[in-house]
Structures are given as C-alpha cells and as structure tokens.
Amino acid sequence: EPEVTQTPSHQVTQMGQEVILRCVPISNHLYFYWYRQILGQKVEFLVSFYNNEISEKSEIFDDQFSVERPDGSNFTLKIRSTKLEDSAMYFCASRDRVGYEQYFGPGTRLTVT
C-alpha cells in the first residue's frame, strides 16, 4: 500500500542552524501539506502546496520557513534559522485531486538545542 515517507526520523540541530526536512508523498497525489505538533499539543497546520506554489499558510509559517518540490517526488520544508521553540514533530501529508483524504507520514522529530 502506498505511503508517505519522511526523512530523517530524528534531527538534532543547534539554534540558528538551517534544517531541511524531507518528504516523499504518495506518487499520484497532487496536494501536499506540512504540519507540526509540539509535544503534548495539537497538530497545527503550517502550509499547503499545489501546482508548485503555496495554496495556504498559517501564522506560524513565517519568513523563516519555506517549502519546495525540487523534483517529481520530494517535498521539503526548510527552516532557515532554527529557534528553540521550533522543536516539535513535523508531519508531511498528501492527498489526491479527488476527495479530502489526507495521508500522513510518520514524522520527523526536530530537536533544537
């Protein structure tokens, strides 16, 4: 069964460093999403992406964040200068053209020290 994959599973970085989180969505899906979940809190929407551009973004997704689909399979989230408060699980999700079903990846745990 097709699934969304994410790498790395855990990333530790120092404050101020850039990180890139990678996702491979389900192959025939057209809509892509990033979410984050701070430990013990709810899943928060960051950004949606369709047709090589951002569809929607939340207040969390400021100038420090960017997304890219560099090729036909990968979808990346970059944080330019990480802060302690960026420590969280980051989930990628995708869905196809028809329907609302989103499928989530297993997440990347980002720890900023």
């Binding site: 969304v4 809509y31 999403y33 979410y35 809190q41 709810k42 899943v43 928060e44 929407f45 949606s48 369709y50 569809s55 929607e56 939340s58 699980m89 989930f91 999700a93 329907g99 609302y100 079903e101 989103q102 499928y103 989530f104 990846g105 297993p106 997440g107 745990r109």
Partner: protein
C-alpha cells in the same frame, strides 16, 4: 479563528461498554476527518465525512457529520482494549487549510 473542540479530553471505560466522543465548532467545514494517533507516530486516517447528516460505519465505529456540517461524533460499540488511543478530528476549510482538534484520549480497561 476557526476552532474544533473535542470532548471529552480523556475517557476511561471498561471493555464492552459503548462510548461517544464529540467534535464541535461554530464554523462550517467542507469535510471532517477522524484520525487515530499513537505516541510518536503520524495520524492515521479513519474516515472522512462530507455531506451534512452523513453516517459512516467502520466495524464497531460509527461516525456522524452534523446536519449543518459544524460538528461530528464518533460512537464506539463494545469497546475493546485495542481501541485505546488518541482520536483526533480535523476540519477541512474551503481554502485547503485543515484545522485539528486537541483530541480525545481514550483508555479501555480490560
């Protein structure tokens, strides 16, 4: 700001009992999804409801979308220890943004 309120936050019941958990909002959603999330893992989609009043069944789980598409419920019949977990609802707004509730943490005692 659109919000989804889930209730109760925590529920602990005996195996074999029935239960209902709720997801409420003052906003209308294009669709509403229910997920289950295990610790340290991504949410796993259980069901999507789209039409007001829609009812979907998944074995012992029954999901209902409110007539006005602002709320939903999840009913579990004859709960089993394997049903233990965090149940999340998420609403799809018309502009490709998804809002999650905080979840109901369910614990089924054997």
């Amino acid at each position: 700001t659109q919000l989804l309120e889930q209730s109760p936050q925590f529920l602990s019941i005996q195996e074999g009992e029935n239960l209902t958990v709720y997801c409420n909002s003052s906003s209308v959603f294009s669709s509403l999804q229910w997920y289950r999330q295990e610790p340290g893992e991504g949410p796993v989609l259980l069901v999507t409801v789209v039409t007001g009043g829609e009812v979907k069944k998944l074995k012992r789980l029954t999901f209902q979308f409110g007539d006005a598409r602002k709320d939903s419920s999840l009913h579990i019949t004859a709960a089993q220890p394997g049903d233990t977990g965090l149940y999340l609802c998420a609403g799809f707004t018309g502009d490709d943004k998804i809002i999650f509730g905080k979840g109901t943490r369910l614990h089924i005692l054997p």
